[in-house]
């Protein structure tokens, strides 16, 4: 059975939903962070799949950009988490309510 774009999209959708659910339900902020990475990778799979199918390299270039942005985002996000941990001795997202009224 050849691997068609449908399969890629199914895989991508599955990853995306797993990521979204992870973001929604988990309390540990690092897990949430990892879930976000999943969402981004789901996007990447989509981009690369369509690029290969349509013989257009732009999609792969986009994927490379997304990876770069994800790396930058991870760096910033982990910095924030570290700072937060030093203040609160915790990585529980329920305690991140400083912006509340």
């Amino acid at each position: 059975m050849p691997i068609t774009p449908t399969h890629y999209m199914l895989l991508s959708a599955a990853l995306f939903i797993i990521g979204v659910i992870g973001v929604m339900v988990r309390r540990n902020i690092i897990i949430i962070f990892m879930s976000i990475e999943l969402i981004l990778n789901a996007v990447n799979i989509n981009l690369v799949a369509f690029s290969s199918q349509q013989h257009n390299v732009i999609g792969q270039v986009f994927a490379v950009f997304v990876i770069a942005v994800a790396a930058a985002e991870a760096a910033v996000g982990l910095g924030i988490i570290l700072a937060f941990y030093r203040n609160k001795e915790s990585v529980n997202i329920d305690e991140m309510n400083l912006m509340r009224w």
Partner: protein
């Protein structure tokens, strides 16, 4: 003669030097020398100017000097439209009248300055400089008064001499009576000045100029107000009110006797010789104006002669040597006004001059007596001083003979001229004036008798004979013991410095700087009359001819006022004066008879006084007992001060209190009421603010607050909640997009 403005300036400089530097730095001697030098220099300039003026022809003796513009030209509009340009220069005019006055002021002023150096010698150092500063300042203003060629410059001097009079009367300001007397003099003068100012205003609005000559020439063209009381009469009346204040006439004479609280040289200079004659001078200066208001002239004559009589009668019973002289001055000023009132302007001015000599002499003599008695002023404590004070006695006797009107002393000629002119004008006035002359002779010889003749009645002194015990004691006591003498305390202050400390060595002749002016003035008192020997007894009456141009709207100035229609002025000579002149020729015999009569009257007065106070002193006591009532009235000066107290002064006080009550109740009430009203309305305003305005604001706030209660719950701060909502939103929009497509 173009430099007559220097004459007032010199004493002004002296005053400035002594006032700015002298009080702190100069010794008594330096201060005195500076003041005397300035006065002597002024005298020198005056004499030179006068001499040059004598060199001019009789009808050209008038020199105007404008030093500077004071008020620049401004258009002057009256009810008849713009009548010309109004301007006031610092202008001075030397004419016969002002020439005579500057000689009197600087001459007698110089002598009195010299006298003061000795008289004030016991004062503290700064006090002497202050005294000379005031004295020089007085001469400055007095000379400005007499030299000014318009009413405004005269007014500067007029007010200035009043100020200096105030300062000098209150020279011993620590003494309550002296400072009170100063205030009384000043305030009384202010009342007169009010009239003077009104007169000047009226002149300004009537004639559109304040220059004396222009006013006289303009007035000469107006009809004589015989029947009605027109604007000229009002001008003259107001000016005369000013004169009554300055020259101590009824009803404003009350300040002059009190002014004797000042040092005696001041009394001599200001309150006898010069300042008090300013009113007479002013009337003479405006002779044309006054002769056009015959009704006012009558008033002046009546007031003058009544003042003369009243003051002379008070002088009969006073015991304070200076007060006798003060009332005598008031009385003599009354004579001068009588003369002015009957149109005998030259006679009045003549008497002014002779009076300046003999009255200054008498005052300085009395100062010498007071000096000799160690500050005593009560004549009952004097007596027999003739042998102790020979020079003072001789000179005062000359002065007394002059004032009594004995031939050939100066007072005789001037007083007889007045009496004769009064006789011509009105017999009733003449009768009163003759009675006054009798009284004058009487009280002056009473003064002389009580002071110089008879036995010594004063306190004992420390002499070789051994009265030692009584000396200091007796002297110290006198001060507080005079019954009825208002200036008992003067005993200390007149002479506080010197005799107060050491024992008093009895009456003694004064030092040369005091006797020299006495002798000089005595000479003046003898010879001053010779310039006015009337034609009836072979004289030329030079003074009258000399002064006449000052009293007429002369045409001398035609060349100056060529634009003014002055031609007619000359054609209208003073009819009354001419008529009287005519009459005086007719009645030379009458005049001689009157002279003899008044001489007899004077001698009668002298003999009477001699009988009462020298030969048989008990008569005067017996008379005083018999006529207790009149005597008491006279001793209390007709109760005029009390009447003024009861009417004018308490009226003023009452009005003041009434106004104060109005102020306190009505004005303060209105103010407080408005304050109260503001407070109440502010309270209501605050209430509205608190409830209504704040209520609205708070309501809005509350609504926002309550309304936001539910919305606020959405802001959980939990990122996942937000993400979930976002997810729902995305789903919703995508669903809508898909379904609605």
């Amino acid at each position: 003669m173009q430099h007559i403005w220097i004459i007032p300036l010199l004493p002004g400089i002296g005053a400035a030097i002594n006032g700015l530097l002298g009080i702190r730095y100069f010794s008594r001697k330096t201060a005195g020398v500076i003041a005397c030098t300035m006065m002597a220099a002024a005298l020198g300039v005056s004499v030179m100017a006068f001499w040059q003026m004598l060199g001019l022809p009789a009808d050209a003796r008038s020199v105007d000097v404008v030093v500077a513009q004071w008020i620049p030209s401004i258009p002057l509009a009256t009810h008849t439209g713009v009548v010309g340009m109004f301007q006031v220069p610092w202008g001075f005019r030397l004419d016969p009248l002002s020439g005579m006055m500057i000689l009197v002021v600087t001459g007698i002023g110089t002598l009195i300055h010299v006298y003061s150096t000795a008289y004030m010698h016991d004062e503290p150092r700064g006090g002497v400089a202050r005294f000379f500063c005031y004295l020089n300042l007085f001469c400055f203003f007095m000379l400005m008064l007499v030299l000014g060629n318009n009413f405004l410059v005269m007014f500067v001097g007029w007010e200035g001499v009043g100020l200096c009079s105030y300062l000098l009367i209150g020279y011993w300001y620590e003494k309550k009576s002296a400072s009170d007397a100063g205030k009384k003099a000043f305030i009384t003068n202010r009342i007169g000045d009010w009239g003077f100012v009104l007169g000047v205003f009226l002149i300004y609005s009537t004639f559109g100029t304040l220059d004396f000559r222009a006013v006289q020439n303009a007035a000469a063209t107006l009809p004589v107000e015989t029947m009605h009381f027109g604007v000229l009469s009002f001008i003259c009346l107001f000016l005369f009110v000013g004169a009554t204040g300055k020259s101590a006439q009824i009803p404003l004479y009350v300040w002059l006797p009190d002014a004797m609280e000042g040092p005696t040289p001041v009394s001599a200079l200001i309150h006898a010789a010069t300042m008090v004659t300013a009113g007479v001078y002013m009337v003479g200066r405006n002779a044309v104006l006054f002769s056009h208001a015959p009704q006012v002239m009558t008033i002046i004559a009546i007031v003058g002669v009544l003042t003369a009589l009243m003051a002379a009668s008070i002088g009969l019973v006073q015991y304070d040597i200076k007060r006798v002289l003060a009332y005598s001055t008031v009385s003599q000023l009354g004579y001068m006004f009588t003369a002015m009132g009957v149109g005998a302007f030259s006679a009045g001015a003549f008497h002014l001059m002779t009076h300046a000599f003999f009255k200054a002499l008498l005052f300085l003599g009395s100062g010498s007596v007071i000096h000799a008695m160690g500050g005593e002023q009560d004549m009952r404590k004097m007596g027999g001083l003739k042998k102790y004070l020979p020079v003072t006695f001789a000179t005062m006797m000359i002065g007394t003979l002059a004032i009594a009107g004995i031939v050939p002393f100066s007072g005789f000629f001037s007083k007889d001229e007045i009496l004769f002119r009064a006789f011509v004008a009105n017999k009733a006035i003449w009768v009163v004036a003759v009675i006054t002359a009798l009284m004058t002779a009487f009280y002056m010889f009473r003064l002389m008798s009580m002071t110089f003749f008879g036995g010594y009645r004063g306190p004992a002194w420390e002499a070789a004979a051994g009265h030692g015990a009584a000396a200091g004691h007796g002297h110290g006591h006198d001060a507080g013991h005079h019954p009825g003498s208002a200036d008992a305390h003067a005993a200390h202050d007149d002479h506080g410095g010197g005799h107060g400390h050491g024992p008093w060595h009895g009456p003694h002749e004064s030092p040369t700087p005091m006797t020299f002016p006495l002798m000089a003035l005595a000479v003046g008192a003898i010879v001053a009359g010779f310039v006015g020997i009337p034609a009836a007894i072979g004289g030329g009456n030079a003074i009258e001819k000399f002064l006449e141009p000052s009293f007429t709207a002369s045409a001398v100035q035609l060349k100056l006022d060529a634009t003014e229609p002055n031609g007619s002025v000359r054609l209208q000579p003073d009819e009354s004066a001419a008529a009287e002149h005519e009459e005086s020729h007719v009645s030379a015999n009458v005049e001689r008879g009157l002279m003899a009569f008044s001489l007899l009257v004077a001698i009668a007065g002298i003999l009477l006084a001699r009988k009462f106070y020298v030969t048989s002193p008990e008569i005067s006591d017996r008379l005083a007992g018999q006529w207790a009532g009149p005597h008491r009235v006279l001793s209390n000066k007709y109760y005029v001060d009390e009447i003024y107290d009861a009417t004018v002064i308490s009226g003023t006080f009452g009005a003041g209190r009434g106004l104060w009550a109005v102020d306190r109740n009505v004005v303060d009430g209105v103010v407080n009421g408005s304050g109260w009203f503001t407070m109440i309305s502010a309270w209501f305003s605050g209430l509205t603010d608190r409830t209504v305005v704040d209520g609205i604001v708070n309501l809005v706030g509350r609504i926002c607050e309550e309304g936001s209660f539910w919305f606020r719950k959405l802001q959980t701060g939990l990122v996942q909640n937000y993400a979930l909502l976002m997810l729902f939103g995305v789903f919703a929009f995508v669903s809508i997009y898909l379904f609605m497509r």
